[in-house]
């Protein structure tokens, strides 16, 4: 049992961002300890078992972008870290998914030109809008995506489009769509794709949304067999191989500034760290520090941001292979007739769960060893769950689980009688295992005018906020951000 540890970097949290930071810093020669509260690594990128390990379920939505050779940022990152065998574990999707809208099963291919063709086929009146959309994805979306490469000195900014990009960052994706398209149907088919980044088209800023479309359409969408947990386990193994130390079941309680280092009190140890890398929510960092002269000021900075969406997930095991009941695509996005939209009122009463887009993921395809698993997911928010009494919570969870299954049955009637196991999770469940504020699965909402730069300068320069809260949501972003921060910090502290 190690009582006192001295280390260059103490990383709070072994999610994807923390693991990548740790791996990078260790590769650069820094001594790194990752302290994780949970008994396993990965944060959202974790799996759990049922029925004596015969059923395996994924806590996240396993959608990883950026794996296209040379083009993808994540591909670039993993190559730089020499994680070649991990790269080989990624399989590119042959299609992005299938949007089910008004009786149409619209299969979205994975090549941009094919996606364009598909859209033109279904929406022949929207050719101009489709052209404009792809032009904007290839300019604005591309540039936003390439900011990451700029940090590696591999990209020169296209200065001519900056002003227009700023304009796009001030409106929502839906508002943007309304400027380029004539009708609504194409909007209802394109906007649910935002679910991948935890974005809702009537909220998310258009510039950020275009970047998500670039990442998905051009960056290369892929999966790993064994999904989130496999990815996390491989990163952990590599972190340890390169000299890193992981402390599990070891929550961080408090930290104190001792000038030359931070003194961090965790469950099992006292750790002296030159730097603390916090992948936990920014407000939790403030709670770990005793009140400082900057605490109130920084709290008001944090108050600028809105905690993001989490999800409600129904985990299902069926008695036959998914193909037998008509599930061929890796994912189906079930859009209701009223579209991928809802009002505040819909959200505050439970009509939302009938109206909003429901995703059906074919997990058997990603992880054949895990059983005939499908997962039903809808974006949901902790605000609807945390205040309930135990009874209310249980009743509500059951009610919504039943609703989702009913909706799935409508599209896939052969599902009837084939469900052999079901279980659900809410944002509250996710909070329990990830400690993400309000069970958010996507950090802060990327709304118009959301400015994450405000979090890049924590008032204590021994503490860095390196997380999806500070860098933006999603697998690819979490991993690339952890990597760039790992590189940058090493660069800045080399003598």
């Amino acid at each position: 049992m190690i009582d006192n540890i001295n280390v260059d970097d103490l990383v709070i949290g072994a999610g994807l961002c923390g693991l990548m930071y740790g791996l990078t810093a260790a590769t650069e020669g820094r001594s790194v300890v990752i302290s994780e509260a949970h008994h396993k690594v990965g944060g959202y990128a974790t799996n759990f078992y049922r029925n004596k390990r015969k059923f395996i379920f994924d806590c996240s939505q396993h959608k990883v972008s950026g794996l296209r050779e040379h083009v993808g940022n994540l591909w670039n990152t993993l190559k730089r870290l020499e994680l070649h065998s991990l790269l080989e574990e990624f399989h590119l999707h042959e299609e992005i998914g299938t949007v089910v809208y008004r009786g149409n099963f619209i299969r979205i291919p994975s090549e941009p030109n094919e996606i364009k063709e598909t859209l033109r086929m279904y929406f022949p009146d929207e050719t101009t809008g489709i052209e404009q959309l792809f032009k904007d994805i290839e300019t604005h979306g591309y540039q936003h995506y390439m900011f990451f490469r700029r940090l590696m000195n591999e990209y020169t900014i296209n200065k001519d489009i900056l002003r227009e990009s700023r304009g796009l960052s001030k409106i929502t994706a839906r508002e943007y769509f309304e400027t380029i398209f004539k009708g609504n149907d194409i909007i209802e088919v394109l906007s649910p794709i935002a679910i991948y980044s935890g974005s809702i088209s009537n909220e998310v800023n258009a510039f950020y949304f275009l970047h998500c479309l670039y990442a998905m359409f051009y960056g290369g969408q892929a999966y790993v067999k064994g999904t989130g947990q496999r990815l996390s386990n491989v990163l952990l193994k590599e972190f340890i191989n390169r000299g890193g130390i992981l402390l599990k079941k070891n929550p961080v309680y408090e930290m104190e500034d001792h000038d030359e280092h931070m003194l961090v009190k965790t469950r099992k140890n006292m750790i002296r760290a030159k730097n603390v890398i916090a992948t936990c929510p920014p407000e939790d960092v403030l709670k770990m520090l005793k009140k400082q002269e900057y605490t109130d000021r920084f709290q008001s900075v944090i108050n600028n941001f809105e905690v993001g969406w989490g999800h409600f997930c129904v985990y299902i095991v069926i008695s036959v292979p998914p193909e037998e009941i008509g599930i061929f695509s890796p994912e189906y996005l079930l859009v209701s007739d009223s579209g991928d939209n809802f009002t505040k009122e819909d959200f505050e009463n439970d009509r939302y769960y009938d109206l909003f887009t429901l995703s059906i993921s074919n997990y058997h395809r990603f992880d054949p060893a895990g059983g005939y698993v499908i997962q039903l997911v809808m974006l949901d928010h902790g605000d609807r769950w945390f205040h309930l009494s135990e009874e209310e919570y249980t009743a509500r969870k059951q009610k919504i689980q039943d609703k989702f299954i009913k909706r799935a049955l409508k599209t896939f009637p052969k599902l009837e009688g084939k469900l052999i196991y079901t279980e659900s999770s809410t944002p509250k469940t996710n909070y329990k295992f990830t400690l993400a504020t309000k069970g958010s699965a996507f950090a802060y909402k990327m709304l118009p005018r959301t400015n994450l730069s405000l979090l890049s300068d924590f008032p204590n320069d021994k503490i860095k906020l390196v997380s999806t809260w500070a860098g933006g949501p999603g697998y690819e972003t979490a991993m690339c951000f952890g990597f760039t921060q790992g590189k940058l910090l090493s660069k800045n502290t080399k003598t």
């Binding site: 900056l162 700023r166 400015n451």
Partner: protein, 82 residues
């Protein structure tokens, strides 16, 4: 120092336009990030406008050290002198 005053005026104009703040409310010590909500993207736009207006070439690395209008004017004065 009339020349410097003119520099500040132009800088406030550019900053005001891009961050959508009132140029009249900007001071030499106004913090670009915290008081004006400048994003990294806006920072680049500012750099582009400064280059265009003053016919100078500015390194993107300089952005990291520009936290107030005073910092910007200092860099401009150095560039214009050389």
């Amino acid at each position: 120092m009339e020349k410097q005053e003119k520099l500040f005026e132009k800088v406030y104009e550019i900053l005001g336009d891009i961050t959508e703040c009132n140029p009249k409310e900007i001071q030499p010590d106004t913090n670009l990030l915290h008081d004006m909500g400048m994003t990294s993207l806006m920072g680049l736009e500012v750099l582009v406008e400064l280059e265009r207006n003053f016919q100078v070439s500015l390194d993107e690395e300089l952005l990291a050290n520009m936290t107030t209008p005073k910092d910007i004017v200092k860099v401009l004065e150095e560039e214009l002198a050389s």
